[in-house]
């Protein structure tokens, strides 16, 4: 394979500045929402004592899961020794960091006491999967930073061994990290909608899909700014294949999880709620996650010729991300909405909404805070791409009609 060259994000157009302004405005709005929530309390959110994790957590977990998956392109390049993926490895590592920073920012800003972040960083209960995740996230940032250094430093990248070694380490770490994220829910034995070890592989499959979709969209956005095709023609088919495999894997694990719950009478009530009677949660599952977020993009990618086009892959990636948000919404909020089963087989009522489906209506502050996580990731990616050569520069003839002549 020819020597890979990289480039910075240059020649700023109104499109670039427009995106910077949009993301900057969303970040400011999100910080404002967090400030108000910090001073007036979570009463301004739609969260309550039944739905304790709301839209900010949907965005945060979505971004954290996507972060580990975004690294996959770099892993394919160095761990599985596929040099055709190398041009995208730097951007893959960068997105892994920025998406994680975006997700963690939302998570921290939603805390009841975000001013005690230092407590969370210094006081640990090592039995908590949440505490493990703090280590896993910080470790991930450090390892991927080292990985990027090994890929980008002139001397370090001169030999393949450091890159491969760190690449392997990062690959294993990201699998552990996503296992940890899935287990935050999978180990909650008291809630029927969770309590499933399959959450870990489900989250890993989802991470691969969301992460690759983010890489595709970042390449498409940067390509528009640079007026170049950044994805080689030969790669379009490979990316299409990976997206299809990852989407099918998510569907498989989703089906396995729901079938298990349908089979066991203990979980059937919660399952019936999510799949049939859950109003918005049922709608978001079938329309958002399955139809718009899985079936439609798979149908777009299915035609042999059109499915390999940049437009098809870009649109499908965007739809997969819509499906990902829907999936997190159903898992996180739908999973809490179904009442706890204090007395199996009995009807329970109280003035504290026992036995009732919990009501949740996300507030504007939550939406802004959640979206600000995405904007933080995108803005950091744009700034980093402006400062350092993270983006591939294709040789003449590798891309489509807009390949750079340089």
């Amino acid at each position: 394979m020819a020597k890979v060259s990289y480039q910075k994000l240059e020649n700023h157009s109104p499109f670039f500045w427009g995106l910077v302004a949009l993301n900057g405005a969303i970040i400011l709005a999100g910080l404002g929402a967090a400030y108000v929530m910090e001073h007036r309390g979570h009463i301004i959110s739609g969260m309550n004592n039944q739905i304790v994790w709301g839209l900010p957590h949907v965005f945060a977990v979505f971004l954290i899961v996507a972060a580990s998956g975004a690294l996959n392109v770099a892993s394919v390049s160095s761990v599985f020794n596929r040099p055709e993926y190398k041009p995208y490895a730097r951007l893959s590592g960068l997105l892994a960091i920025t998406l994680l920073v975006g997700g963690l920012s939302v998570l921290v800003l939603d805390l009841g006491r975000p001013d005690r972040l230092i407590v969370a960083m210094t006081t640990y209960n090592f039995k908590s999967i949440f505490a493990w995740n703090i280590y896993l996230y910080i470790g991930f940032l450090a390892i991927v930073a080292a990985y990027l250094f090994a890929m980008m430093d002139r001397r370090a990248s001169g030999t393949t061994l450091p890159g491969r070694a760190i690449g392997w380490f990062a690959f294993v770490w990201r699998l552990v990290l996503t296992t940890g994220t899935g287990s935050i829910f999978g180990w909650l034995v008291a809630r029927q909608s969770y309590d499933a070890a399959i959450m870990a592989p489900l989250f890993i499959a989802a991470s691969l899909l969301y992460g690759l979709a983010f890489v595709v969209l970042a390449l498409a956005t940067a390509g528009r700014q640079l007026r170049q095709d950044l994805v080689a023609d030969e790669m379009l088919g490979k990316i299409r294949g990976l997206l299809v495999i990852f989407a099918l894997a998510v569907l498989y694990f989703t089906a396995a999880q729901h079938l298990k719950s349908l089979y066991a009478s203990e979980y059937r009530g919660a399952e019936r709620f999510l799949l049939l009677e859950g109003a918005i949660y049922t709608g978001v599952f079938w329309v958002g996650q399955i139809l718009v977020g899985s079936v439609l993009p798979l149908a777009i990618l299915a035609p042999p010729i059109f499915g390999r086009s940049p437009a098809a892959i870009t649109v499908a990636s965007a739809l997969f991300l819509v499906g990902g948000l829907a999936q997190m919404f159903v898992i996180i909020i739908g999973g809490q909405a179904y009442p706890l089963n204090l007395f199996p087989g009995m009807d329970v009522s109280s003035l504290f909404q026992d036995g009732q489906v919990a009501h949740y209506s996300g507030s504007l502050a939550e939406v802004l805070l959640g979206l600000s996580g995405v904007s933080i990731a995108m803005l950091l990616t744009g700034i980093a791409s402006r400062l350092l050569p993270f983006l591939p520069r294709l040789a003449s003839g590798q891309g489509g009609g807009r390949t750079a002549a340089a």
Binding site: V119, A120, S128, L188, A190, L342
Partner: protein, 271 residues
């Protein structure tokens, strides 16, 4: 909030109690400690070989300032649902009054340290009522999942939240099988010195730890006996001579969601 003792909900777990409310009782506590020690010596002398650790574990025995909570004690409740009438909320009102939480007109976000449940068998129509609060589990999921260790179980079985290191992540609320914890969604006022509360942190029933450490019973138990149906009994489950231990040994009691293996310290009969 000046109280940094271990007895209140905002206290640490080392057992070092220096609450302002406790200092005024320091002389009494010292006297109690002396008398208890003297009595223990007498018992030791008169009845060598008789176990001593049960001595002083009755609710009437206060824990002296600076004395750590003992793992030889397991505080618990026994609740008889047959004596708990559906419309009675004496325990809830007493808890509100004692610990300073109240209805603010936001039912889904208001704190609820204790609540009354009505449970109905859909097949037979049989109904019973009971109070539900933190079950003070021996293996509490809230303590397991808390990232900072703010949720903790005292040696004597009382599960508390250390308000100084609670970051308000609410993972404990996700993990609690009993929906026993509340997140403080709004600024709070009119706090009790022995029951500190703080916006952005999680709280739950403390088993009136401040009263227990003074040798008294929880407010809900007292109110239930005074104005309710007398359905609640408080005591040391580990002390075989205590009334609660005798009843638990004599009757079949039920621990809610016992299948989860949390080993609650609150037991029910006639449910």
């Amino acid at each position: 909030m000046s109280c940094r003792s271990n007895s209140g909900a905002g206290c640490g777990r080392s057992g070092e109690c220096e609450c302002a409310t406790a200092t005024s009782d320091a002389v009494d506590n010292a006297r109690r400690t002396f008398l208890r020690g003297a009595a223990a010596m007498t018992v030791t002398t008169l009845a060598a070989g008789v176990t001593l650790y049960g001595f002083g574990a009755e609710p009437a025995a206060a824990r002296a300032t600076g004395e750590k909570a003992s793992s030889k004690v397991r505080w618990g409740l026994l609740i008889d649902a047959s004596k708990c009438s559906d419309g009675c909320t004496a325990c809830v009102s007493a808890c509100q009054s004692e610990n300073g939480w109240h209805d603010t007109g936001h039912p889904t976000t208001d704190a609820q340290w204790i609540r009354k449940l009505t449970v109905k068998d859909p097949n037979t129509g049989a109904t019973f009522s009971l109070p539900m609060m933190c079950q003070h589990c021996a293996k509490p999921p809230c303590v397991d999942v808390c990232p900072t260790g703010a949720s903790f179980r005292r040696a004597d079985g009382i599960v508390l939240v250390d308000k100084h290191i609670c970051i308000g992540c609410r993972y404990c609320m996700m993990a609690c099988p009993y929906k026993a914890r509340s997140f403080i969604h709004e600024p709070v006022d009119d706090q009790k010195p022995y029951a500190p509360r703080g916006r952005g942190t999680v709280e739950s029933c403390t088993l009136c730890v401040h009263r227990v450490d003074e040798g008294r019973t929880p407010a809900c138990v007292e109110a239930c006996n005074d104005t309710g149906g007398g359905a609640m009994l408080f005591g040391d489950l580990n002390d075989s001579s205590s009334e609660i231990a005798k009843r638990v040994a004599a009757y079949r009691t039920t621990r809610i969601r016992d299948d989860l293996g949390t080993d609650p310290g609150v037991r029910y009969v006639n449910i």
